[in-house]
């Protein structure tokens, strides 16, 4: 087991293996998303309260879930990199941040588009989830800005890892404080809670979308980690051999 993990963490091996994994992730994820989109848009019955607008959750929920997932991946792999000094782990953290920021943006944007017909406003200050997502976006920006400000990769890895961990400790506190803040607002009754549990025709497409998006996210993440590995190992022999072999094939 340890031998396998050790081998996986070696950059050239990871570079080869991930190249083989990415198409599988993308194809299977794509199939699930295609099923989820078609079933969600055309076959799921309209919601009894929200009508057809509820179909936005088929993209909103996966995006929101992945925006949090990406932060967890980032913080955990940053912690692993800081404690056990695994270089690949830092590369994962660096790659997860921009993807997380994109998915947070997507969650916010689709949430706003949903809010317009449902609440009658693009931006509802009283909704704790939207506030949490917005603060999460700021946390991603801070992480990426710190990384960009430090030229030395090793130093950038460690410093941003400390920030990611401090942020991870703070996220539950932020969420709690935003909920408390909202609980004092009166009359912001949301339609989300209450109502019967989701029927299966609504639920299965959603589960398929979540699973498909996770796989696509995995493919995107692996792709970015490969770029990070290539950049970090740019002076090593295996990268030189790899690039030279590619050149030879092209000419």
């Amino acid at each position: 087991m340890w031998k396998f993990l050790h081998k996986l963490a070696s950059p050239p091996h990871f570079y080869d293996l991930s190249a083989k994994m990415i198409p599988w992730f993308a194809i299977i994820g794509g199939i699930f998303i295609m099923y989820g989109t078609i079933a969600g848009l055309f076959f799921a019955p309209p919601d009894y309260q929200q009508g057809d607008a509820f179909r936005i959750i088929y993209v909103h929920v996966p995006a929101a879930y992945l925006s949090m997932m990406a932060y967890m991946i980032m913080a955990i792999s940053a912690g692993i990199g800081l404690i056990w000094r695994i270089k690949l782990s830092h590369a994962v953290a660096a790659a997860a941040a921009p993807l997380g920021a994109w998915f947070t943006f997507l969650a916010l944007a689709t949430g706003m588009i949903w809010g317009r017909p449902m609440w009658g406003t693009w931006w509802e200050w009283g909704d704790p989830r939207m506030m949490s997502e917005l603060i999460m976006l700021f946390l991603y920006f801070g992480y990426m800005a710190l990384r960009a400000a430090i030229d030395d990769t090793v130093k950038a890895d460690k410093a941003s890892a400390v920030l990611a961990i401090v942020g991870a400790v703070n996220i539950p506190i932020i969420h709690f404080s935003v909920e408390w803040w909202n609980s004092l607002h009166q009359g912001s009754t949301l339609l989300r809670d209450g109502g019967p549990a989701m029927p299966a025709e609504m639920l299965y497409p959603l589960l398929a979308m979540i699973f498909g998006f996770t796989l696509i996210f995995g493919a995107l993440l692996l792709g970015r980690v490969r770029t990070e590995v290539l950049f970090r190992e740019r002076r090593s022999r295996w990268v030189r051999n790899l690039v030279c072999a590619q050149e030879g094939r092209n000419e």
């Binding site: 989109t37 936005i56 993807l99 689709t110 949903w114 770029t227 740019r234």
Partner: protein
């Protein structure tokens, strides 16, 4: 058919959010590929420079 796409008057919202999702996914893919190509290009120039030095 057009009724199917109207989504009970919520069509603009539903289709724009699905469209935006598609755009963000494509941007993510393009950004990743572009970055990868840039790093590869960088390494190639470095190798050429080293060969010229010899």
């Amino acid at each position: 058919m057009s009724e199917l796409f109207a989504m009970g008057n919520y069509g603009v919202f539903v289709w724009s959010s699905f469209g935006l999702t598609l755009i963000v996914l494509l941007v993510c893919i393009a950004q990743g590929n572009w970055h990868h190509a840039a790093v590869l290009r960088d390494i190639k120039t470095r190798i050429r420079a080293m060969e010229l030095d010899k």
